[in-house]
């Protein structure tokens, strides 16, 4: 009986993993395809399509996406920490309501949000900020629930006795935040910030309403390109951005890498 269950378990895991990785493998294979139709033969491949990525056509959207994602990650990181601090650590009145409000963007479809933001901006006469400023604002709204949630979870798990211990050792509130609270919630905040970066970098449904023509983010540029052609350049763009995202995750993981010290620490 146990053997059957264990077989089913591994089978299920295999199917799920295959479902996740095989399409990616196809994209990787396509990006190495020697002919402009998407094919792949293990003994015949080329890197020439990746060369095409160094043109302005792809570099400009990449740099725009990168800049926006960086700013979004920074802003939502700071705001998320502040929100979590007020809600969980200081327990200000109405904190549950504030948390619900901050998480509410999660429950609105992004298309609806995109339309709403465009209409809102034009009604209040701010259509001038469409483009980068509007993208940043919209992405922050989208990413904030994740960062706040992660930071709030870290703060909830934060052992209040650490704070009291520091206080009894003479640490003022500012010193405790700097030396104890922030370092302790850093891993949670960093993973929230990583989310924010990726959410912004990959976003299509919101961005599609907010970009200015000729000044698009990378995913929008991909969509535009896709309307005219499906060739290995397309696949190369996707592989390149996948590698980029993996690098970002890896780097953030490195920065927050002391998390191993935390596990099993003050238990």
């Amino acid at each position: 009986m146990n053997g059957v269950l264990s077989c089913l378990f591994w089978l299920a895991i295999g199917v799920v993993l295959a479902f996740i990785t095989l399409p990616l493998a196809v994209v990787v294979a396509a990006s190495l395809s020697p002919s402009s139709t998407v094919t792949f033969l293990p003994w015949d491949w080329t890197l020439e399509w990746f060369g095409a990525l160094l043109s302005d056509r792809w570099l400009q959207p990449f740099l725009l996406s990168f800049r926006i994602a960086t700013v979004v990650a920074a802003i939502s990181g700071v705001l998320g920490i502040l929100a979590a601090y007020a809600i969980v650590y200081e327990k200000i009145p109405g904190s549950a309501l504030i948390m619900a409000g901050l998480l509410s963007p999660l429950s609105v479809p992004q298309i609806v949000k995109g339309v709403a933001i465009v209409l809102f901006l034009s009604i209040i006469g701010l259509q001038g900020i469409l483009g980068t400023p509007a993208l940043i604002a919209a992405h922050v709204v989208l990413a904030l629930p994740f960062v706040t949630r992660m930071a709030a979870t870290s703060l909830t798990n934060f052992d209040g006795n650490l704070d009291r211990a520091a206080q009894s050792l003479g640490a003022t509130k500012r010193q405790r935040l700097q030396h104890i609270v922030l370092p302790m919630i850093k891993p949670g905040v960093l993973s929230g910030v990583t989310f924010a970066f990726i959410i912004s970098f990959n976003n299509i449904p919101l961005s599609v309403f907010l970009v200015r023509p000729g000044d698009t983010t990378l995913p929008i540029a991909v969509i535009n390109y896709l309307e005219y052609s499906l060739d290995p350049v397309m696949a190369a763009v996707n592989v390149a951005s996948m590698i980029f995202i993996l690098t970002v995750i890896f780097l953030f993981e490195k920065i927050g890498g002391f998390s191993t010290q935390l596990h099993g620490g003050s238990k």
């Binding site: 052992d159 006795n161 650490l162 009291r164 211990a165 520091a166 206080q167 009894s168 050792l169 003479g170 640490a171 003022t172 010193q175 030396h179 104890i180 370092p183 302790m184 002391f258 010290q261 935390l262 596990h263 099993g264 620490g265 003050s266 238990k267």
Partner: protein, 361 residues
């Protein structure tokens, strides 16, 4: 100036209208090892938190070295605190943990290093400064917590059930060590615990708390020998608490008639004038008498039937029924008794009148 490190003056505390501490008066002399002992929910941790400054008394005043602490935040009280769950900073090395208090007070770097080393040495952890807390055992972590608390030389060290997370053997070893550290530092220790053995083993003085008030305070052996109330008699060590229906003084003894039986106990204790409702006898104060033993003048003697025998190794515990429904727990040294009693056999018990203690309730 007086020589008290801590004074609690008519302190009361209620949470959401529920009184937790009621009119508590406590004076802790400089350099003493004082245990606040009580069952969970008796208010001992609340008392500690008020001394530390994490809770504010609803009424009354807390003074440290004569100064009222009402407006002093915890970080300015110069107290050391040791927690049950150690509360070490997991992202800092042992040395950084121990030096934390000094760094927060902007002590010059040159002074921090020797102070950290000295603190680690006093808890016998020299050489482990570079490790992270998670690489240490529970006992070592608790020593780090102790070193961290004493490194800035606080006025008083507050310990909140610091040994409860350790296993029995380690706990017993740490008791001795804590006592040694106390003697070596000469610092006032306030030790909160629910473990009466721990309190007995280490304290200069024990403050027994119950239901938000002090039930009794005094030296460990005087509390053990003469508990003041039923609660203390029951909570500190084991005892036979007996209800008294009638008492009469016939010098030099007080004659106590036990409730629901014709047995009359003689007590040598000088009780108050008020009616006595209960008394207690420690199990080890009851002796088994052999038939040949001569009557000792004034000694209480009564026959009983052995109902149960529990072998505890060094001791044997007997449950002896001396009247209907009236059972006494008797503790005798094993190997000494020449007539090992059998369950169901009749024995004669003897109790010195000095060992019959009067209780206040």
């Amino acid at each position: 100036m007086n020589s008290f490190d801590i004074e609690l003056v008519s302190v009361s505390k209620s949470f959401a209208g529920l009184p937790v501490i009621q009119d508590l008066n406590l004076e802790i002399p400089r350099g003493e090892f004082v245990s606040i002992l009580g069952p969970s929910g008796c208010g001992k941790t609340t008392t500690l938190n008020m001394i530390a400054g994490f809770n504010t008394p609803s009424l009354g005043d807390i003074r440290i070295r004569g100064r009222s602490q009402t407006r002093v935040p915890p970080e300015r009280r110069n107290l050391g605190l040791v927690f049950q769950n150690y509360a070490l900073f997991p992202h800092m090395t042992v040395a950084d943990n121990v030096g934390f208090g000094l760094r927060m007070r902007s002590t010059p770097k040159a002074e921090i290093e020797p102070a950290v080393q000295a603190a680690l040495r006093s808890v016998r952890l020299d050489g482990l400064g570079g490790r992270y807390p998670k690489a240490l055992s529970g006992g070592q972590q608790q020593r780090v917590a102790l070193a961290r608390a004493i490194a800035p030389r606080p006025t008083v060290l507050l310990l909140d059930e610091p040994l409860s997370n350790l296993d029995l053997k380690l706990r017993e070893a740490m008791r001795i060590e804590l006592k040694e550290i106390h003697e070596q530092l000469g610092m006032t220790f306030v030790y909160v615990t629910h473990d009466q053995e721990e309190a007995m083993a280490m304290s200069d003085r024990i403050v027994v708390m119950w239901q938000g008030a002090i039930a009794q305070q005094g030296k460990p052996d005087s509390i053990y020998r003469s508990p003041a109330t039923r609660f203390v008699a029951d909570f500190i060590g084991r005892s036979n608490v007996l209800s008294v229906s009638k008492s009469a003084r016939e010098a030099p003894f007080l004659h106590l008639t036990l409730e629901g039986s014709p047995i009359v106990l003689r007590s040598a204790c000088v009780g108050g004038a008020q009616t006595i409702r209960s008394c207690c006898i420690r199990p080890e104060c009851i002796v088994l008498l052999e038939e040949t033993q001569a009557d000792i003048v004034g000694q209480n003697q009564f026959d009983g039937v052995v109902r149960r025998i529990v072998n505890l190794g060094a001791h044997i515990e007997l449950l002896v029924e001396i009247a209907d429904g009236l059972r006494l727990t008797v503790l005798i040294r094993s190997g000494r008794s020449s007539f090992p009693p059998e369950p169901g056999s009749t024995v004669t018990l003897g109790v010195d009148p000095h060992d019959v203690q009067l209780l206040a309730d």
